[in-house]
Symmetry: C2
Subunit: 460 residues, 2 copies
């Protein structure tokens, strides 16, 4: 970090941004950490641009003085992505929060990066359309694009990978480019949209996102079903997807997770490996999907299939699922959560979850296993005493074992949380010599290495 | 081209490949051209590797001697992609045609690049799964990945962009890398899979493709409907997609196209702007989709909606659609076809098609307009006398006007045929300063410039 350079940049930016460049300790501290285990690092200043032109000016000054630049959205990423490990200027995009265009006929919306997913869906209220990608937190759409976010609906709608059509990006030398188009497909040129989606702020700063919208289904129904073991639950999911049922969501909760949910959300669910389904479509088609799913789950050993079209009951169930993080936390009040995240080929999902559970049972840490099982993506939540470094170390050991097993069966080190600082160490193991190609791209597009340094494009 | 270098490479390759390096004039001529207007250029030799290791050896020799390398699949690309404009070695991948793995539970297949889509679907026969991407020709899957191919089913299944999960690639220095994984989603590292998909052989040579498979629908039905004008036909498509009907295909044919089809395929369709639909699902759901589509088309002025679940009738109709190229050609026997290809935001599709038709009517060339209208992708087929250079020039002028209009409304210069040599000239207009980013990537990944030179990554 060039402290002197940062001072010069801060001085120049005051003239441009006025009180939207902040160097107070409280704001710098807020931008020094996330919920991960990584030690906080203070940025030299935090800026709040309102226009793309301001972003250009910020980046040009930082390039001139070789000062690191770290873009952040709603700061809800989980694995150290936004920690400015080499100091510099953190660009908080929250004031670039205008919805620029909604085009119902083209089923797309054009938003500034600070627009959150809930904000967009509120604005879509009268269009019959929705932006369905749901990572849980009310993340910013720029941040979701930068981290290739997904969540419970990815089995039906894909991730940000499938739902970003076009971007505007300020490159590390302060040039504005656009990628993609408003056409649904294209065969012209290298696919830069997908290169920037998931690049975690290491190649440029996203200043506009064009996202796909989807029709709000006429009918939404849900179902819940319990299984004698993990394997039969996963087999039911495989059979349902192979059959072609376009499930909107299908979530797995292990017995410990169900116990936590029962206690936290005052439910009375049977304590067993459980699938939560959501079906959407016309009323007849949503009902038919549920009926086929009931037959399939029964043939896989599922019992107690309960289907409901009642919105209140459905909301109560899904709210319980969404509150699982808090429910797990309540298992040991005062403890923190350490999260594991991998994605495996679905044929290897049952054995992966079983192994994760066995590891947990053999450890002194409590925890739960849950999964977006239609995608082969699952999470572990380990409860750790914030005052015990050995708890952190044990959780990291267990989460790393998830990754090692996932990579051994052709999976990936992160299904949706991203690389951040936590998964850099697995890059070579997962991607082999392709890591050298990634480094060459990083070097070619950010030759000064100022964009979110110490993250993707380097090795851990 | 370094003629001396090529000779040395050819000499060395004979030791490795034996009679699978061919320098006969007939084979070189076959690899010197496609159906486009671009002048043929002979490769110095054509090689037919059988293994990835052979590809590595070929590329290493070419890199050492700075000899261009042009990979080709089934040679069904349309716009000069495979013409070795600077000579060198053409690598024909047809003998790398093994299906390495079919994993029904993970709904994926792993194939060598020379496997064709029909070959794969034959191998899938007993799995209940299909590889649905259908560009018309029985293209190789490696070539389809390299050109980001799509076709009539893209409205339902996406393009190769959405259906390639992972690749193995020999980079221009002869390193083997893999991209992606067998997990359905991932948040680790730059998205190299999407960078190589659609890169038209300019960044490396694809030696293995992992593709997504999809369930074969229980029921397939089709429908046909005529409209008073283009606008009402397109409005019906927009309404159907906004409603959330997952149409498997929806194709537009203009009056001239219907006339050609009637004459060539001995049909008796009403001569009017027409939509061909295909619906899939359970029997009840496919029927419901057709019923909703009938209501929607009627409300947009459509008449004569004919729905059929009869496989013979459906096949006859879709065969007629697939034979449209030949039907158009038969309008003026002995003439060639010059193809236009753009994709626009669907809200601008009607005006775009109307303008294309008006241009055609004002020209001395005959032709037809057809479209994969659910995507906003449409084509023009211009009939040209192969002995009249002025016909070529006029067709190019008309096709270029399509592109200019598409770009003016936020569309793209090519929906699915790709850049090749024909669309290079539009790169700067479509992508602006992003072209410089593409050039930097090309330079970083192929510093010697040996991979399919004179194509993507350069400007026309």
């Amino acid at each position: 970090m060039t402290a002197q350079g940062a001072e010069q940049v801060i001085g120049s930016l005051r003239n441009i941004l006025g009180d939207r460049i902040v160097t107070s300790m409280s704001v710098r501290e807020h931008h020094s950490r996330d919920i991960s285990r990584f030690p906080p690092v203070l940025p030299d200043a935090v800026v709040f641009p309102r226009t793309e032109e301001e972003v250009v000016q910020i980046v040009r000054l930082c390039a001139e003085h070789r000062v690191p630049v770290v873009p952040v959205g709603a700061t809800s990423s989980l694995d150290g992505h936004i920690i400015p490990v080499r100091g510099g200027i953190t660009i908080n995009m929250r004031e670039m929060n205008q919805i620029r265009e909604i085009r119902p006929e083209d089923m797309l919306a054009v938003v500034e990066p600070g627009v959150t997913r809930k904000q967009l869906n509120t604005a879509l209220r009268d269009t019959g359309l929705t932006f369905p990608i749901d990572p849980g937190a009310d993340a910013s759409i720029g941040g979701m694009a930068a981290t290739r976010a997904s969540g419970t609906t990815a089995v039906r709608y894909g991730t940000m990978r499938e739902n970003v059509m076009a971007l505007r990006v300020v490159t590390p030398d302060g040039t504005v480019i656009w990628t993609g188009s408003r056409a649904k497909k294209s065969s012209t040129g290298y696919d830069l949209t997908h290169l920037y989606v998931g690049s975690e702020g290491t190649l440029g700063i996203i200043t506009e996102v064009t996202v796909r919208l989807h029709p709000i289904p006429e009918k939404v129904s849900s179902a819940i079903c319990t299984f004698p073991d993990v394997k039969s639950a996963v087999e039911a999911v495989i059979a349902a997807v192979q059959y072609g049922i376009p499930v909107a969501r299908v979530e797995f909760l292990d017995e410990t997770a169900i116990g936590a949910v029962n206690s936290y959300s005052k439910l009375n669910l049977k304590v067993a490996p459980t699938l939560f389904f959501e079906f959407t479509g016309t009323p007849a088609w949503a009902a038919e999907q549920a009926q086929i799913a009931e037959e399939i789950t029964a043939s896989c050993g599922g019992t107690g299939f309960q289907w409901s079209t009642d919105a209140d009951e459905r909301n109560r169930l899904w709210q319980a699922r969404h509150d699982l993080l808090w429910a797990a936390r309540a298992l040991q009040p005062g403890f923190d959560i350490y999260t594991g995240d991998v994605c495996v080929p679905i044929s290897r999902l049952a054995e992966s979850i079983v192994a994760a559970r066995e590891d947990m049972d053999a450890s002194h840490l409590k925890g739960v296993v849950l999964g977006h099982v239609g995608d082969g993506n699952y999470h572990t939540l380990y409860l750790i005493d914030p005052n015990k470094p050995e708890d952190y170390a044990e959780a990291e050991r267990l989460a790393d074992r998830l990754v090692e097993r996932a990579l051994a069966v052709g999976g990936t080190a992160s299904g949706e949380h991203g690389l951040g600082l936590g998964k850099l160490k697995f890059m070579r193991k997962e991607h082999g010599a392709a890591v050298d190609i990634m480094k060459r791209i990083k070097q070619a597009l950010d030759p000064l290495g100022i964009m979110n340094p110490g993250k993707m494009g380097q090795e851990g």
